[in-house]
Amino acid sequence: MRVLSLHVNGDRVELAAPDHWTLLEVLRYRLGLTGSKQGCDKGDCGACTVLVEGQPVLGCLTLAASCGEKPITTIEGLMPAHLAAGGTGPDPVQAAFDRCGALQCGFCQPGMILSARALLNRNAQPTRPEIRAALSGNLCRCTGYTQIVQAIELAIAESLGVEPCAPAWAPGTNPWKLAAPAEPGA
């Protein structure tokens, strides 16, 4: 057991935890921040993704005692950070997930959104392959990822003030998709 002084979502918190507790356990069971999900708990699924010094890492494989003073951001910290920076409402990525229906059960969503947020912080205009690569450590078992990528593209378009590009399933965007049959009489 040792006293940890962590820097979570902009706040300094002091708490006692055993050395063998992971960051995820401390966040969920000491700090009540249950937004970070406990999925496979062995580094496969990405549901526990949090940002440490702005970079996505897996909470389930990070020892809490090794975090020191590094700033940690969980899903709970995104909206307050956005508001503090002068924005309104939730983080644009969160809002876009909502509008695009980029979730079903929602279990992967906190990790997905944090991976996406870190990507947009280092590259404001990623390409579709770059988005998919940045999310490749986060598994989703419901959506097939299509609306997730679309949501991130919507957030990018809104931040640039341009029209969002066509979603992946729109006619003409998938070369292997058959063209729509001609309207009768056209």
Binding site: P18, D19, H20, W21, T22, E25, Q38, D41, K42, G43, D44, G46, T49, Q55, P56, V57, L58, C60, L61, T62, L63, A65, S66, S115, A133, A134, S136, G137, L139
Partner: protein, 339 residues
């Protein structure tokens, strides 16, 4: 939910402190850097150390530098992500940069280190399981038991070396600097690995400080090919590192082919690499040599049914990946993966 067994975490700040802790606690200690290999293994109770010595704060293990002769010195704590992005590594040792860039997924590459990947524990589907699962089976040769479930009656553990960077480092003739109670010493990477799946390294009780990649000639080409079921996260079902050093007239002056995820140690495919010597990429000779190299590699590679992916399929993919990875090396492209 998988809980870690209890341990005390030590966080030394210097190499000497870390070594002293390792000497003090001996077999009851485990070293950890990024934790992406050890932590899941501890959650599965494959390791239950009393003390975990974190190397994350040891400054001597950090940094990438290029020496005057062009050799690269890579600190053991260099993350796989940093290695994959480093311009010097991409230019001088493309196979290594590509291999590091294909390890696991983005979060794991940001946490995992080069040193950790070099020292990765061998993997087997009868071993990388929870205590409950392994107990139900009566355990296995590698941990807590006496029977091998892969090779009936087998007396030798065949858990597979699964580190992507190992074949790339073999192809580059890398050297490793270890620090122990007797001071520092340098060994060739060929001498690190043995064919024992229980512990496939020849070094114990010492700390990997840095990886040295000797200077590569101007005509150096390298690529890495990784067979896996998904485009991310998975360990290799087969990994092939290819090296071609082209002479001024474009012919292959020296070549190396190395493979991983086949047996307990990463393999050098010497005969397969030799047939490429003297051929020139782009010619019919080179094409014929690629076919022959693939056939020779397949002869030498015998995947076992102890990691995901059907063993027969993985064996059939050996010539395919040898050919594609050599072609990518010749073209200066890569990495090779089909998902």
């Amino acid at each position: 939910m998988l809980r870690l067994p209890q341990f005390e975490l030590a966080q030394p700040r210097t190499l000497d402190e870390a070594c002293a802790l390792l000497v003090e606690h001996g077999e009851e200690a485990q070293l950890v850097a990024g934790g992406t290999d050890l932590v899941p293994n501890m959650k599965h109770e494959l390791f239950t150390p009393k003390v975990v010595i974190s190397l994350a704060k040891v400054a001597e293990l950090r940094g990438v530098r290029q020496e005057a002769d062009g050799a690269l010195v890579l600190g053991a704590l260099t993350t796989l992500e940093a290695l994959a992005q480093d311009e010097r590594v991409r230019a001088r040792a493309p196979a290594l940069a590509q291999a590091a860039g294909l390890v696991a997924g983005p979060q794991l590459r940001r946490m995992g280190t080069l040193g950790g990947n070099v020292m990765l524990d061998t993997r087997c589907q009868w071993y990388n399981q929870t205590y409950f699962w392994r107990q139900a089976l009566g355990f296995c040769l590698k941990k807590d038991g006496s029977a091998c479930h892969v090779v009936a009656g087998g007396a030798k553990c065949v858990a597979a070396a699964s580190n992507d960077t190992a074949p790339a480092l073999l192809s580059l003739d890398a050297e490793l600097v270890f620090h122990g109670p007797a001071g520092a010493r340098r060994i060739a990477i060929d001498a690190l690995y043995s064919a024992d799946g229980i512990y496939n390294k020849t070094v114990r009780g010492e700390i990997l400080v840095e990886v040295r990649v000797p200077a590569t000639p101007a005509g150096h080409r390298g690529a890495y090919g990784k067979l896996r079921e998904r485009g991310s996260i998975d360990f290799p079902l087969l990994g092939i590192a290819a090296r071609l050093d082209l002479s001024a007239d474009g012919t292959v002056a020296s070549a190396a082919l190395c493979a991983v995820a086949l047996q307990a140690r990463p393999l050098r495919l010497k005969k397969a690499a030799e047939v490429l010597l003297g051929t020139r990429p782009g010619t019919a000779d080179f094409e014929a040599a690629l076919q022959e190299a693939g056939a020779l590699a397949q002869k030498q590679c015998h995947p076992l049914d102890n990691i995901p992916g059907d063993a027969d399929y993985r064996r059939e993919m050996v010539p395919v990946y040898v050919r594609r990875t050599l072609l990518a090396a010749a073209e200066g492209s890569g990495p090779v993966h089909h998902v």
